[in-house]
Symmetry: C2
Subunit: 215 residues, 2 copies
């Protein structure tokens, strides 16, 4: 019985994420979600307390997933440039696996609320700040380690994170893309231009090997 | 008298753009705009007919400005890669000069309406489609002309336009940046990674000269 309830709740969260993605959180009602579940609104309240609870149950796990990903990567023995590549790949993975939930991250977090039981808005902002700080830190290490050119970190990080942030929107319309093609193209687009090249025109590769310039 | 009226209208549009940027179009009332202008709402209606008219008067000129920019650049004698760089520079310029109006482009266009007098929503979407098509066309030419690697055009164009689209948000918090630094760094971040390099590790430069790999 508990198990059945749990999967029902998961299904509600998934359907709600789709509706929030399509119509926005503000314009979606509990009744819309119930209709999508083929349930009465009253029955829906057996599984969830409020629309706010649904938003929190979608957004906070995603925010924790990003943060856990970057924590695992940054504390791994990978080199700094491998870490940066891996973080981009991780964002692609998260976006492909949770497109609807990820679509809520750029804008809909403003609807999160702090209340006595749970400061959901604060928790989300703390996770986001942690992520951006950690991302900049790894980016800085890549420059220090000689993998990246000495570019303006603020501008470069903004540029990379903008693309990753809106990837869900592109992916929603291009779901037939090969995830590995997407990952590889994005890593090249996003950091290929600021990679440091050695004097003879070859590029430092992540495995310490050498690659010719035009590959 | 006409001149005074005209500048008053311009002032209303500027103040409205700031409020729409800060609070969103939906959450901003005519009363909010009047308060910002230190006017009565009734007096405001001497200059504009509705909130919808204000939104149209902000968004459509900006959309036309983007389109005119890309038209001028693509019909110029510049090489394809010079055109691509110039278009990025043009977006930076537009964003710096009209940050509040530009901030409405990614999301607030959904509030544009079609009506008997003017199909504003359709006009906006047509301009946006034209821009994206033209951008892809120039990008394609850069590959054909050998300036860019044979990358996935859809992914690369999505990535570049994402950064440019959200530049207003970064710029709003970093207004003291040197516009030329911003322009140069972004051109390098966005297309440096997909530039084609010659076999000896030198890069085709836009002026036909040669540049060493590490500059």
């Amino acid at each position: 019985m508990v198990k059945k309830d749990k999967s029902r709740r998961t299904e509600i969260l998934e359907k709600a994420a789709i509706l929030f993605h399509q119509k926005g959180y503000a314009a979606t009602s509990i009744r819309d979600i119930a209709r999508e579940m083929k349930m009465e609104s009253a029955s829906l309240y057996n599984h969830i307390q409020s629309k706010q609870e649904i938003l929190q149950a979608i957004l906070l796990p995603i925010a924790h997933r990003y943060t856990q990903g970057i924590k695992d990567i940054s504390s791994s023995p990978l080199t700094s440039i491998q870490q940066l590549e891996r973080i981009i790949a991780d964002q692609v993975q998260i976006t492909i696996q949770n497109t609807d939930a990820v679509s809520l991250v750029p804008n809909e977090w403003v609807h999160l609320e702090n209340n006595k039981e749970h400061d959901a808005l604060q928790e989300f902002l703390d996770l986001r700040n942690f992520y951006e700080k950690e991302f900049k830190h790894i980016f800085q290490k890549c420059i220090k380690d000689g993998y990246l050119k000495n570019v303006n970190i603020d501008i470069a990080v903004f540029s990379i994170l903008s693309t990753l942030r809106w990837l869900y929107s592109w992916y929603s319309k291009n779901k037939n893309v090969n995830p590995l093609v997407l990952e590889t193209e994005l890593i090249n687009n996003l950091i290929g231009g600021i990679r440091r090249w050695t004097a003879d025109g070859e590029r430092r590769t992540t495995d310490g090997g050498r690659r010719t310039a035009d590959d």
